[in-house]
């Protein structure tokens, strides 16, 4: 039970609790807050794994931008407590069943696949930002450029959606 394990369990618990509360909360803002908790916890986990840069980006982009956007929208639309309809039949008992099955499968599959790397798990490389940037701008330069294009498109799309059609 090393210190890192303790930290891990604390953070993991935080994340899971956050996720659960995301589901249980009735008001979107609370859900958003719990999601933020999850993200911060994940960032902590990344730090624990030595992925500093990813951790920082996780908080800056997810916590600092995306979730702010969510909160902003919620405030803008003044979203109230979510109403509890159940029109869809699929999303009832069968949905629940399926979800459980899916979670089981995911867990099983990933676990099985993880067995193979468990041994390698000790190679804790402190990933320097330099290496990551090297990768992005050398090996992954074309995907990177593509993402830039994607973002441009997203901006345009958002703009088009946002502006009210003039009549």
């Amino acid at each position: 039970m090393t210190a890192s394990l303790v930290v891990f369990f604390v953070l993991a618990a935080l994340a899971v609790i956050g996720a659960v509360s995301l589901i249980l909360q009735k008001h979107p803002i609370h859900s958003a807050l719990s999601l933020i908790v999850v993200m911060v916890a994940l960032a902590g986990l990344y730090l624990l794994m030595g992925a500093e840069f990813v951790a920082a980006v996780q908080i800056i982009v997810y916590g600092g931008a995306i979730m702010v956007l969510f909160v902003f929208v919620i405030m803008l639309l003044n979203a109230g407590v979510e109403e509890h309809t159940s029109i869809s039949k699929m999303a009832g008992a069968p949905g629940l069943l399926l979800v459980v099955a899916l979670a089981g499968f995911v867990a099983a599959t990933i676990a099985r696949s993880a067995e193979s790397v468990q041994t390698a798990s000790q190679s804790g490389v402190m990933s320097s930002t330099k290496d990551i940037s090297n990768m992005i701008f050398k090996d992954f330069v074309y995907p990177f450029e593509l993402t830039s294009f994607l973002i441009l498109v997203a901006i345009l799309g958002a703009t088009v959606l946002a502006q009210r059609e003039k009549n």
Binding site: H27, A43, I59, I60, G63
Partner: protein
């Protein structure tokens, strides 16, 4: 007992540091308000606070007391949890961000422990990123406060602040990239050392000169991030009563207050570290005599304080001020006599003085500039600040590339 000490020395030291920092920051905050009011007052040719204590020096204390003892009503229909969470969040994040700032290059040896000035060790790999991460979260305090208090003005204030912060965060981050490129690291210490690359250049080696554009963008964006004039729309008195903290009273309000001033300090620190060489002296390294500058400033100042104090007939004036004066003067004297201490004090001295300058600029701007209109704010952020900072990044990278190509070595 001793063994316990030995075992958790690091922990203890950290805790002590935190307490110390907390105290310092809070005091500084308190006196920052005094400073602000004074300066603005003089700019508007008023006296400012001068009733409580000499030069109104006890005003902050009074305010603090007032904050603590005021009634704290919770409006009806607020979202309790968030309502309480928001100020805490704001304060906590502000303090965290300042905790990440190194105040001096080299540690104090203390019972075999290296104790750095500042809570985090100065060379965190992703120092600046971590700072940004924390400041990025800062927006929640305001936004949530605005939303949770379940009332029009705060909601508007919250909306504004969140929008404003998202918009200006981009510019903020982009404007720093230039500096990062030049330093080749996120590490604050490295960034500062990069500015001391030519020890003889002194002030000319700082980042402001090559990164003047970046500095401009950064400073403006930073002011916006801290919701200060001329970007204080979230709390625009004339439109939104008091913006996001309209519904807050007494100590919760104080938290917001402190948070704001703390982040001001943080920003000043960042400015001086990023662009003004942090703890570097503006003079060439060879001018060793400049190392006596601190004492040269402190001793006269202390003497002046003594002299100023004894003119008063109040107890405070008679006793305390001279006391403080002697302490200050003594400090100056100590530096002179103990060169080791003197050397050690150089960094913090310069850093603090730079910070003070920036704080003054803050106040100065508040005294002079009118508030932006909301659309102006947005278009300024998106159409001027962001492009300029991006251009800055591009230019910088080109220059660096050119140096790599033809600059040799």
């Amino acid at each position: 007992m001793n063994s316990f000490l030995a075992a958790n020395a690091e922990l203890l030291i950290t805790i002590v540091k935190i307490a110390l920092l907390l105290f310092v920051v809070l005091t500084v905050n308190a006196y920052l308000t005094w400073f602000e009011r004074k300066v603005v007052a003089h700019m508007q040719s008023r006296w400012g606070p001068h009733r409580v204590g000499p030069h109104g020096l006890l005003q902050p204390l009074a305010d603090g007391v007032k904050f603590l003892f005021k009634e704290d009503p919770t409006p009806a229909g607020v979202d309790k949890f968030v309502y309480f969470l928001a100020p805490l969040l704001a304060l906590a994040l502000a303090l965290t961000s300042i905790a990440l700032i190194p105040f001096g290059p080299d540690p104090i040896r203390f019972f075999g422990h290296d104790i750095y000035l500042g809570i985090a060790p100065p060379d965190v790999n992703i120092g600046i990123l971590a700072l940004f991460a924390v400041t990025a979260l800062g927006v929640y305090g305001v936004a949530l406060a605005g939303w949770s208090s379940n009332s029009k003005y705060p909601l508007l204030g919250g909306l504004r602040s969140s929008a404003q912060m998202i918009s200006y965060e981009l510019a903020l981050t982009m404007s720093v990239v230039g500096v990062l490129l030049m330093a080749g690291s996120f590490n604050l210490k490295k960034i500062i050392e990069a500015q001391a690359h030519h020890p003889e250049w002194g002030i000319l080696g700082w980042n402001v000169w090559p990164q003047i554009l970046g500095f401009f963008c950064f400073f403006v964006a930073a002011i916006a991030e801290t919701n200060r004039v001329p970007f204080d729309l979230p709390e625009a008195e004339s439109e939104l009563v008091a913006g996001f903290h309209t519904e807050y009273a007494s100590f919760k309000f104080a938290m917001f207050f402190i948070a704001e001033y703390t982040s001001m300090i943080t920003v000043s620190c960042l400015c001086s570290i990023m662009f003004f060489g942090g703890w570097l002296s503006p003079f060439p390294a060879s001018w060793t005599f400049t190392h006596y500058l601190p004492s040269a400033i402190l001793i006269p100042f202390g003497l002046w304080v003594i002299w100023d104090g004894i003119r008063y007939e109040t107890i405070f004036g008679r006793i305390i001020l001279p006391g403080v004066g002697t302490v200050i003067a003594a400090l100056g004297a100590v530096f002179v006599v103990l060169p080791g201490v003197n050397e050690f004090i150089q960094g913090p001295f310069w850093l603090v003085s730079k910070i003070l300058v920036f704080l003054f600029v803050y106040v100065w701007m508040r005294g002079t500039l009118p508030r932006f209109r909301y659309d102006q704010l947005m278009s300024f952020g998106w159409k001027l600040l962001l492009p300029v900072s991006i251009v800055n990044v591009i230019l910088t990278s080109f220059v660096i590339l050119a140096r790599m190509q033809w600059g040799g070595k």
